[in-house]
């Protein structure tokens, strides 16, 4: 296994970018020849390496290599789309023909079409997203083994492993439309993860940890990832259910990010024009406590969700969605914006790099604020109704009394309504300790229903 990782394509990334731009041009040209009044196309390719090891031995070595193209044609306000993994000239013609056929059956929707040309990104800023990692298969295996070894050495109760994996991907994506916009950029993503099983003779518990970054040097140390996975598994041992009750609930920071994702969905234009959001009538009104701010920072250097333009080609921008507790804007792509009589906010594809300013309290102080209640460290299943805000999910974590963790808890649910949970957010911690694009600390919610025995 001495072959170099195919992402070692320091070869001419520039030449590949040009080839893909050419394919976008061909797609748009073919759409025009077929009589489309407007069109937009996206073309991408990526290569990668994924290595999985378990119990110190190699389990899988995967070489990935993906291509894709997508075309949307507009005949006036009628629309049709097609996509394929084949980038050959014949496939380009076929895809455009298929999209045009579809468009003969779709109906006029005045909002179907390209975003206004003046909203397009006029320059594509370099967001420092491209850091190819020319790691060899052997070195990738060594790092993954190091990660798992550290996990297994953390505690004698780590008795088994689901293994560790290292992945590295490098990709190029180009978007262009018949308004004359074309933009694209290379980006990379690398990750290291580990999942282990703890056993105390009375039952097994599994947990995992990971690190993910645009540049290999930003990954957490392999041994640290492994240790964190092991610690998370061991502390779950001996979990039990508790009696049904109503108590305050502290969401670990990683899970608080989930509450932000529900918020992002509830303010997305698609759910607003369809009237399928529990925040429908709340624009300009307080939905969270005074002092709470939610921003997106799409141009954050090396950000995992950074992008210079959205999937309509519209320039992205740093902006607040919740300011001092007040819902200040919807998150809009071009179509939803048109339906609502508003202008795109550059959010086709969602919010990027959500940021909530960290609070003052560390985890121990947050536990003291919680007092007696539930500290949630894992959630399971669906159970979130975006139309009503009703929330009911499987949970596990710790029972806390007077600010001190008592014992692990499992096989319980926590339930409330997201409107009430947001309104009754008591405090945010400074304990942002998870990888990913979102920044927030833990969230203390005043009261939820815990269902157990």
């Amino acid at each position: 296994m001495t072959d170099r990782h195919p992402a070692a394509i320091a070869d001419s990334q520039h030449a590949r970018l040009e080839r893909l731009q050419q394919t976008v041009d061909e797609l748009l040209g073919e759409a025009r020849r077929k009589g489309a009044s407007a069109a937009e196309a996206v073309v991408s390719n990526s290569t990668g390496l994924e290595v999985g090891i378990r119990l110190g031995e190699v389990e899988t070595v995967e070489h990935t290599r993906d291509h894709g193209l997508g075309i949307t044609v507009y005949f006036g306000h009628r629309k049709g789309s097609a996509s394929t993994s084949d980038l050959s000239p014949a496939a380009v013609r076929d895809a455009v023909a298929q999209a045009c056929t579809i468009a003969t059956h779709t109906q006029e929707d005045p909002c179907n079409g390209l975003a206004p040309a003046e909203l397009m990104a006029d320059a594509v800023p370099d967001l420092d997203l491209n850091h190819p990692w020319a790691i060899s298969v052997d070195d990738a295996i060594r790092l993954a083994i190091l990660c798992e070894e550290a996990a297994r050495a953390t505690d004698p109760r780590i008795t088994n492993s689901e293994g560790a994996s290292l992945t590295t991907h490098a990709g190029l994506q180009i978007y262009g439309n018949s308004n004359g916009f074309i933009g694209g950029y290379p980006s990379t993503r690398h990750s290291l993860s580990c999942a282990v099983v703890a056993d105390d003779g009375n039952g097994m518990q599994r947990d995992y940890w990971w690190s993910s970054a645009r540049a290999a040097e930003d990954l957490e140390a392999a041994a640290a990832v492994g240790r964190r996975a092991a610690e998370r598994a061991v502390v779950r041992l001996g979990g039990r259910s508790i009696a049904t009750c109503k108590v305050p609930v502290l969401y670990q920071a990683m899970l608080a990010a989930g509450l932000l994702r529900h918020l992002a969905a509830a303010i997305s234009g698609d759910n607003i024009y369809r009237k399928t959001s529990f925040l429908l009538e709340r624009l300009g009104k307080p939905i969270l406590p005074a002092g709470f701010t939610l921003r997106e920072e799409p141009h954050k250097p090396r950000g995992l969700a950074s992008a210079p333009f959205d999937s309509d080609g519209v320039a992205t921008r740093s902006q607040a969605f919740v300011d001092d507790g007040v819902l200040t804007r919807w998150s809009l792509g071009h179509y939803a914006a048109c339906r609502l009589g508003l202008q795109s906010t550059g959010n086709a594809g969602g919010l990027r790099n959500m940021q909530v300013p960290l609070g003052e309290h560390d985890r121990d102080a947050m536990l003291r604020l919680l007092g007696t209640g539930l500290y949630v460290t894992d959630l399971m299943g669906q159970g979130v109704n975006g139309v009503t805000g009703d929330y009911s999910r499987g949970a596990s974590g710790f029972w806390v009394e007077d600010g001190v963790i008592q014992y692990p808890v499992e096989e319980i649910t926590i339930a409330s309504n997201l409107k009430d949970m947001y309104a009754n957010l008591v405090a945010i911690g400074n304990d942002c300790d998870f990888p990913g694009s979102t920044t927030t600390g833990s969230w203390l919610i005043e009261e939820m229903t815990v269902a157990g025995d």
Partner: protein, 480 residues
């Protein structure tokens, strides 16, 4: 069914000029004395979709995917590479990358010839061409009209129709070649209803490995529209759900997602080989109440989870997992079966050529019991009757699983009472089926909408069960 092979050759290999000699060469290139098993999986799939919203056909799409995945296995090690370019040069590179998993050894020669007898659970047809496009969009309009005319409180209807033809051809190092041509259709209806400032959404739908005429027959498509509206209107009246442990009666059909989560995943061969499942090493032990028999059956005609052969070329079968309450079997792919010294069960599945196969469910269901469903309801003094669900999730190591009800009622004094809001139910897989105290005589399979995710790979599956009484599941409402 050699015509499946003939169709697969003509759809996948002929257009790119690949010959049997090329296939011999590829599988030979993967093979060496240090390799225990190898295969090459070719796939060509075409998908067409239509979406109706606001009463008009708003969007449609067409997707073509093709490629090949090449795998070489040595002991517990798997080397894998894939290519969406079906040219010999690209495939040869992928073969070299995959076989690098085993050091040394010379390329072997494999002569492809034999093929296994195959099932014929569905016709090798292209459902995209089973109905003219004009009739597909007309069908969506009829579904929309039906939903809107049901009740003035219906404010929003979104309907989608998807048809797929997925053709696969797999060659393994033992010289076997298998192919399958898999049609798959699905209609989904989502409605929003509104009254007195309160809104609720519900959805319904169905599908099969059949042509689109299936949806026209027996009023099926319109039936899904009526069902979505009915569920949404029920939820418009729903009170807060109760919280705590109680007796739960599960309706027949889709609530079988219970089995999929509570026991299905835990009985997949990979987790048991690795000892990470709460069911590991428990063959022969009681894991369910007497009378509980659970099977995974990939051989049901036309069902969403059925396959003529799995993605490793093994015929699917009906595998008994739990028999009269005793754990009797796991679901296996080739790799895990070999390492556990047992036989594959036709459960080796993959999302696409770009993914590795692993043990996956097909159609998982519990066999019928003897109780009348009314008798089961009447036996419960106070509890929850849950008849429709969203999805679920399981932690196979701790055994804890959840599934979320989307239509449920209180049971009071042996009668179905007021509707309550959706709530998540949580339980422990290895013991939940020991709490089954009554099994209905009304086995139903779901309508053909299930998709299962595992390690990032999605595959279509089916579930089913009769009405069940479970004594003690935790219901996650807000009403403590």
């Amino acid at each position: 069914m050699s015509d499946l092979l003939a169709i697969a050759r003509s759809q996948v290999l002929a257009p790119v000029g690949l010959t049997d000699g090329d296939l011999d060469h590829l599988i030979g290139a993967l093979h060496s004395p240090a390799i225990d098993a190898a295969d090459v999986y070719f796939q060509h799939s075409r998908l067409q979709s239509w979406i109706l919203e606001d009463g008009i056909i708003k969007d449609g799409g067409f997707n073509i995917e093709q490629g090949a995945g090449l795998r070489a296995i040595s002991g517990e090690k798997t080397g894998f590479a894939y290519s969406d370019e079906l040219a010999m040069q690209a495939l040869g590179q992928a073969a070299n990358a995959a076989r690098a998993i085993a050091r040394g050894g010379h390329a072997g020669r494999v002569q492809i010839g034999a093929q296994l007898p195959q099932l014929a659970l569905y016709a090798p047809m292209n459902p995209i061409e089973s109905l003219p496009d004009t009739e597909k969009v007309a069908l969506l309009h009829r579904v929309d009209d039906e939903a809107r005319k049901m009740d003035p409180r219906v404010t929003q209807v979104i309907t989608s129709l998807v048809a797929v033809q997925d053709t696969m051809l797999v060659i393994s190092d033992d010289g076997l070649m298998s192919a399958d041509v898999r049609p798959l259709i699905r209609l989904s209806v989502s409605v929003v209803v509104e009254a007195n400032g309160r809104r609720e959404r519900a959805s319904s739908g169905g599908g099969a490995r059949l042509g689109l005429d299936y949806l026209l027959a027996e009023d099926r498509a319109l039936g899904f529209a009526r069902e979505a509206v009915r569920q949404a209107l029920v939820n418009l009246e729903a009170d807060d759900a109760p919280a705590g442990r109680m007796t739960v009666v599960l309706g027949p059909g889709w609530p079988g997602v219970l089995l999929h989560e509570a026991v299905g995943h835990g009985l997949e061969g990979d987790f048991n080989r690795k000892g990470t499942s709460a069911f590991a090493g428990r063959i022969g032990e009681r894991v369910a109440a007497p009378g509980v028999t659970v099977v995974d059956d990939g051989t049901l005609e036309g069902r969403r989870g059925s396959l003529n052969v799995d993605d490793e070329g093994n015929p699917t079968q009906c595998t008994t997992l739990i028999e009269d309450g005793i754990l009797v079997g796991y679901m296996q792919d080739r790799l895990n079966a070999r390492l556990m010294g047992t036989s594959p069960t036709g459960n080796g599945r993959r999302e696409s050529y770009a993914h590795l196969p692993m043990p996956r469910m097909t159609n998982t269901y519990m066999r019928a019991g003897t109780h009348d469903p009314e008798e089961i309801i009447a036996s419960v003094e106070r509890g929850l009757y849950a008849v429709n669900f969203g999805g679920g999730q399981v932690d196979i190591t701790s055994g804890k699983f959840t599934f979320s009800a989307s239509e449920a009622y209180l049971i009071e004094g042996g009668r179905i009472g007021r509707p309550v809001k959706g709530a998540t139910l949580i339980g422990n897989g290895p013991d939940v089926l020991t709490r089954v105290s009554m099994i209905g005589n009304d086995l139903q399979l779901d309508t053909g909408v299930g998709t299962c995710g595992k390690e990032g790979q999605s595959v279509p599956v089916g579930v089913g069960q009769p009405t069940l009484r479970v004594d003690g599941l935790t219901v996650g409402g807000t009403h403590a």
